[in-house]
């Protein structure tokens, strides 16, 4: 039965491409009516998590993940169909063609960061790459190196890998950041010790989008001859990356932040001077023994295609995203007071705009913005009501840290979406402020920081 249904769908889709009538809506009607047998409602609304959803929200959460580019999916599909071979099979065509595809993808990834394909190891994503880098390097050089330097605003997986090392007796320095989210290079310099085995600083922050001074950090690491690792998951394809300019020894990359598939990433490992790691996964010895396990050909092909598209489109996307960010910020600023951009405005990737709205409760704001898919910070911590540790590291007040919203703009964001987001955000903030006694007091000229709240 399902086969008949599928062929009906194919037929209707093909008919549409051939006749090119007002087909967008036509086919949707056809396909939904064909599926009506297996789903209860199909015309206007679905209910999820107790919320009735009549339309898909506009998506402004590109730091959490990005949609797959159709060009990427197009490259991947053949490897889900006839070309299903194991890239490590050496005895037949299936293996050979898969291996060739994996090696092409390796070149595409290397090309985007100015590396050699031999320096790329495919992993399951940036989290795995970060784990291999932090734990793998320190465990490999454990006889002489006992100290790691990282920052307070790193991604959870770097911080947790460091905690893990601390439990095993290593020492970790968590560098503080300035109020704009950038580290103080002098503090980094003075934190380096003779037994420092790794400096790990992320390139673009996932929550606030600030760009760390990578070249300067690389220079300091070179001066002291300390390996430098960077988590570039949010930087890849968005800002120009050169592993030589940055002088990184290790770099973590992710597929799904650059319009590629989820579940794939890469680790860049410098060959000259050579950096070595202890594998975190043992097995068949794939990826030069650093990451055993069959390489997922379709995902890797998609990651490679995403890198190639990113290389071609970086300039075009960047120009557009900058204009959209300006439009969003100006639009909100024109209608609301008491808004603060978290993190440096200049040293920032434009696709990430993290704003705090004063006198508004953050959770209520997010709940009110049902038609805009945004987040208060990283997706990993979006389940907790705690204010973000990144914002606290910046010294953002507790109340402002609670009201932050991260707007993530990407390749597929339209002007109309930005305008709608402005309209809805302004409406919601005004509504919440109208209810807020704090905002009323501020308007009357009372400085709420001076109020002595009585204890009950």
């Amino acid at each position: 039965m399902s086969y008949a249904m599928a062929s009906k769908l194919v037929a209707s889709a093909l008919r549409r491409t051939l006749t090119r009538t007002n087909a967008t809506y036509g086919v949707r009607r056809l396909s939904t009516s064909a599926m009506a047998a297996e789903t209860e409602t199909y015309d206007d609304a679905v209910t999820m998590k107790g919320v009735k959803i009549a339309a898909r929200p506009l998506y402004l959460d590109m730091q959490a993940t990005s949609p797959v580019d159709p060009r990427v999916l197009d490259a991947m599909l053949p490897y889900y169909l006839a070309r299903f071979g194991n890239p490590h099979s050496r005895t037949h065509l299936f293996g050979w063609e898969s291996e060739q595809a994996v090696e092409t993808a390796r070149e595409q990834v290397a090309d985007l960061i100015g590396a050699s394909p031999k320096e790329i190891v495919f992993t399951s994503g940036a989290t795995e790459s970060n784990n291999i880098s932090v734990k793998g390097v320190m465990k490999f050089y454990k006889e002489k190196k006992r100290h790691v330097i990282t920052t307070q605003t790193e991604h959870k997986c770097v911080l947790d890998s460091c905690r893990h090392l601390q439990q095993e007796g290593f020492e970790v320095t968590y560098l503080p950041v300035e109020s704009d989210g950038i580290i103080d290079l002098e503090k980094l310099r003075s934190a380096i010790r003779p037994d420092t085995g790794l400096v790990s600083v992320m390139a673009v922050n996932n929550e606030i989008g600030v760009i760390q001074p990578m070249e300067e950090i690389g220079r300091i690491c070179k001066e002291f001859n300390v390996p430098f690792h960077t988590d570039a998951a949010q930087a890849l394809g968005k800002i120009p990356i050169s592993v030589d300019k940055w002088n990184v020894s290790l770099m973590s990359l992710s597929g799904h932040k650059i319009y590629g598939p989820k579940g794939v990433g890469a680790l860049y490992m410098r060959r000259r001077p050579r950096i070595r790691v202890e594998p975190q996964m043992n097995g068949g010895g794939q990826e030069r023994g650093i990451r055993s396990g069959t390489v997922p050909t379709p995902l890797v092909v998609g990651f490679g295609a995403a890198c190639q598209v990113a290389k071609n489109e970086m300039e075009y996307d960047d120009k557009r995203i900058k204009a959209l960010q300006e439009r969003l910020l100006n639009g909100i600023r024109a209608k609301l007071d008491g808004i603060v951009v978290n993190g440096s405005v200049e040293k920032r990737y434009a696709g990430n705009l993290n704003i705090s709205f004063a006198y508004v409760e953050g959770e209520s704001l997010l709940m009110g913005l049902k038609e805009v898919a945004v987040s208060s910070g990283s997706a990993c911590t979006s389940a907790s009501l705690e204010p973000s540790y990144v914002l606290r590291a910046l010294g953002v007040d507790e109340d402002m840290a609670h009201t932050s919203i991260r707007f993530g703009i990407g390749r597929f964001t339209t002007e109309a979406e930005i305008d709608r987001a402005i309209e809805l955000t302004v409406m919601q903030v005004e509504k919440l402020r109208e209810m807020s006694p704090l905002y009323e007091m501020v308007k009357e000229g009372i400085d709420i920081k001076q109020i002595q709240w009585s204890q009950h």
């Binding site: 549409r16 949609p67 597929f412």
Partner: protein, 95 residues
């Protein structure tokens, strides 16, 4: 008029096919992007004079068109049951 083995009519035909295919994407964001990217791509290459770069741009466009044609079919097969809020606007009266 022939430039680099690619005629003006062929180039205009490619542009029209790209826009027509772009309109068939069921996904709002992909549809808008494809239309915009095609228009901007042709605008960027409007002043090309070198025959070899014209034919390179043309064959790149043909390859993109083939991708778009396949993907409009894939997207239509798995089209979302509910539309984007951005598409709902068109039905509402302007306020």
């Amino acid at each position: 008029m022939v430039s680099g083995g690619v005629s003006r009519a062929q180039i205009l035909g490619l542009y029209r096919s790209l826009l027509r295919t772009a309109r068939q994407f069921t996904d709002y964001n992909i549809r808008e992007y494809t239309k915009r990217r095609a228009a901007d791509g042709f605008r960027e290459n409007r002043d090309l004079t070198d025959p070899s770069s014209i034919s390179a741009a043309y064959s790149d466009g043909i390859a993109q068109l083939q991708v778009a044609k396949r993907q409009t079919v894939v997207y239509s097969l798995y089209a979302s049951k509910i539309k984007s809020v951005m598409e709902m606007e068109m039905k509402m009266p302007p306020n």
